[in-house]
């Protein structure tokens, strides 16, 4: 039997990567100690873990700030993206007028518009600037995926709705939105990750507001050559990203599990 064809049990799916992680951490720890690598170049995993424990309160506060901006940006992007997508399929005119600007917003690097946004909202409202920048980054996948989804309704089903005299609202709620769900959820998975990236990049560029987010902790740690704390902050960021992804994947499974080919478990 070839390796590709061998069935993988769910337990193996978790155990194998965890085992690999432990091995890598051990090798890392041993190499750092054995070669006496300085802490400001590459700290040992144990040093990072110690830093995580001692700087726990300040890191957790920063995590909360980053998380809040990420979540708010994601929710706003989701609401605006879906709303604009719905508007754009109601009228071709709306679609052709909105889309070029959405694309411009998407292709312009967020780093480049950060100073402008900062001036507009005022330096005393940096958190608002962060929110706007993260939203801009997260917005486009939602808009483009939802628009595509709303348009990819089965033609016969559309005819059926017309046959039974469905109103616009009924067609949207009972046909177009459910049909767009798989696309929207795909967009949400991309956009959830982008909201976090947007929040971090924006904080690098714009600086921190009233409280410091994780990005600022990383900058600060680098300035003080406190590399273990930098790694600890990085670890938190990736964990946050993974959590967002898993939550959205879970939501997808929950909403599509019973009907959509992408989510249905098939027995062979």
């Amino acid at each position: 039997m070839s390796d590709e064809a061998r069935p993988v049990s769910p337990a193996m799916r978790v155990a194998v990567p965890v085992l690999l992680g432990i091995v890598v951490l051990l090798v890392w720890e041993v190499l750092v100690r054995w070669l006496e690598v300085p802490k400001f170049v590459l700290p040992a995993p144990s040093a990072i873990f110690r830093s995580l424990l001692t700087d726990y309160p300040s890191l957790l506060a920063s995590l909360w700030i980053t998380l809040r901006i990420t979540l708010m940006a994601f929710v706003i992007a989701l609401a605006c993206g879906v709303l604009l997508a719905v508007l754009s399929i109601q009228s071709r005119l709306v679609e052709i007028s909105i889309f070029p600007y959405a694309v411009i917003l998407q292709v312009t690097p967020v780093v480049a518009i950060a100073p402008l946004i900062l001036i507009w909202v005022g330096v005393e409202h940096i958190d608002r600037a962060l929110l706007i920048l993260a939203t801009i980054v997260a917005f486009f996948p939602i808009l483009s995926n939802t628009t595509l989804g709303l348009k990819s309704v089965d033609h016969n089903l559309r005819d059926l709705f017309q046959l039974y005299g469905a109103s616009r609202w009924q067609r949207l709620r009972l046909l177009q939105l459910p049909a767009a769900m798989p696309y929207l959820l795909g967009g949400m998975k991309i956009s959830g990750g982008l909201a976090l990236i947007g929040a971090v990049v924006a904080e690098f560029v714009a600086g921190s507001g009233t409280g410091a987010g994780l990005a600022w902790r990383i900058v600060e740690s680098a300035n003080r050559l406190n590399i273990p704390r930098m790694f600890a902050a990085l670890l938190m960021l990736s964990t946050l990203g993974i959590c967002i992804f898993l939550l959205l994947a879970g939501l997808e499974q929950w909403l599509l599990g019973r009907w959509h080919e992408s989510a249905v478990q098939r027995e062979r």
């Binding site: 016969n156 059926l160 046959l163 039974y164 005299g165 009924q170 046909l175 009907w259 959509h260």
Partner: protein, 277 residues
Amino acid sequence: MDGVEPTRDTRAAGNTSKPALIRIAGVGKRYSGGTHALQGIDLTVAEGEFLSLLGPSGCGKSTLLRLIAGLGEPSEGSIDWPRGSYDAAGTPDRSIGFVFQEPTLMPWATVFENVYLPLRLDGKRRQDVAAQVEDAIAGVGLAGFVHAYPRQLSGGMRMRVSIARALVKRPKVLLMDEPFAALDEITRMRLNDDLLALWAGSGWTVLFVTHSVYESVYLSSRIAVMGTRPGHIRDLIEIDAPYPRDEAFRLSANYIEYCRITSTALRGAMGGQAHEP
């Protein structure tokens, strides 16, 4: 032949014993792309008949069915519903059920939700019509699958759901666009029989698009044979055999003879090209 001479009737109004339900006069359809789909269609559909539109692909039989359903407007001619009521805007209250070539179910909704859809679009509340929906599902033999999702059903079962949905509002006319073309022979025969049983117990009119000679003869009280370029009605053939029809009819000399007549008419409609029925 056991004394039955099949009647061939090429006049527009074939079945005159029952009142006309749909009157199609001089209907033509030309798409903006230049395709000339239909020309000079005259056809009167009588109440309670089982009329098949038979023809090769591209003869516009599906187009005609969609025009009757109100999905699109004819470029010329008119389609009247002499016995139907018209609303203020002049749109006829067609009271139709439509079955597409594919089951066309909403994959995200259960069998119940799919069949409930036409009533839901009318603003009927779920609890008020639950019995009616379940009756329609039971009527096509799927009583045990009310809460199943379409993907859990076989192709034939999905088509049954589609038929239940078309019948749930108890329409006067059932329009079917090659509904069983994608199914295997065995499933198809069973669905043919079940459809005839449903039709016998109801009194509605069926307009059935097909490209199968055997299927059309087995099911229909009348067959409109259509030709291409542009789509037109070539022959109207009355199938004068009593209902209920069953396996015995399928094996009778009468059936074979009607198949031969219909097949010949179809070959004529295709301009002498060979046709595999």
